[in-house]
Symmetry: C2
């Protein structure tokens, strides 16, 4: 329950701010009072940037990464290697991998990983569109760059099986990553090295 702060306008702002992950009511109140102390332009810019972002953001029809409009800047960058596609869980992972400067190809953002416990089936994420992209024949290597968790591994294996009959090499990030950790918290050096040392997916299990 949200305390009342003598102003329904403040109450509302605190209630909305506390809905954000990691922001409790005390922090929300501190942020709201900070905005009240600062010039009005700061609150206008913050509020409208949030609304504009959510209203007008687009997703790239090729790789499903975020984009201002149409095809994203990575997919339309002619200097990038179009024969290598790195498969990631979400938009944040694209940013994390770009920061390593070790991947020069394109991306494919799944928008999640297969997770029966959370009710996420293969058809709920962008796997079918990946198979279609590979089917066009231009892609020579698919790098699986999902978090080394149970769900990530399940998704890796599912994609590997879907691509098994196609003339494409399926690799995965070297397991320099600590098992059980989320990708976004891995340091750039370790992550960059694991892109360089990526290995054939079929070497990682015994049939």
């Amino acid at each position: 329950m949200i305390t009342s702060y003598n102003s329904s306008l403040l109450d509302k702002a605190v209630a909305e701010l506390s809905k954000l992950p990691g922001i409790g009511e005390k922090t929300a109140l501190r942020l709201a009072l900070y905005l009240l102390r600062k010039e009005p332009e700061m609150s206008e810019a913050l509020g409208s940037s949030i609304i504009e972002m959510r209203r007008h953001i687009h997703y790239c029809p090729e790789c499903h990464n975020i984009s201002d409009e149409g095809t994203c800047s990575i997919c339309s960058d002619r200097r990038r290697d179009r024969s290598t596609v790195c498969v990631v869980e979400n938009v944040k992972d694209v940013i994390t991998i770009e920061a390593t400067r070790e991947h020069h190809g394109l991306y494919h953002v799944l928008g999640g990983v297969i997770s029966p416990l959370d009710g996420i089936a293969p058809s709920d994420i962008e796997i079918e569109s990946l198979v279609e992209r590979v089917g066009k024949g231009e892609i020579k290597e698919v790098i699986l760059a999902l978090s080394p968790t149970l769900e990530g591994d399940t998704t890796n294996f599912y994609i590997y099986r879907r691509l098994a009959e196609m003339p494409v090499e399926v690799t995965m990030l070297a397991r320099g990553l600590s098992i059980g950790n989320e990708l976004e918290y891995t340091d750039e050096l370790t992550l960059g090295r694991s892109i360089m040392n990526r290995m054939p997916f079929k070497d990682t299990f015994h049939e």
Copy 2:
């Protein structure tokens, strides 16, 4: 410097969010991507509540507390003891003291404390309006409830001197508060007790 995230809309939202105190660029990105994953109504409500709050908030002409419009709900509450006024630094301190339920009078929000180092002089905060309120004769007791810091003590002493010739008792919170701490981080029990045990301001120093 803010990294670019492949969308100027996202870049802008992350830049604005990172201006908030305690929110770095990584946290700002996490919040922005969270909003993108959630339904658009959440971002609309958050953005507009911030803008509306900053545009339309009012301050009570009596006590300078925040208020939706005109006199605040505390000043206009006829059940409150109008002869006792608690002097606090800011709006958050009103909320903190209200939570103890030990103060049944009114408030006076200074909007800061005297701090020569930060260039805040007595005329920059609401001291003159306090003297005027006391001058009307209805107030019998002024409770000084500033943080027990150098600036708080300086302000306490300044107010005490300004009210010295007036027929009003000046008290201050009992020094159960740990010296050097900020008022808002004091637990409610200690704070409530220190309101009950408030003491005459002139007993705390040797002339």
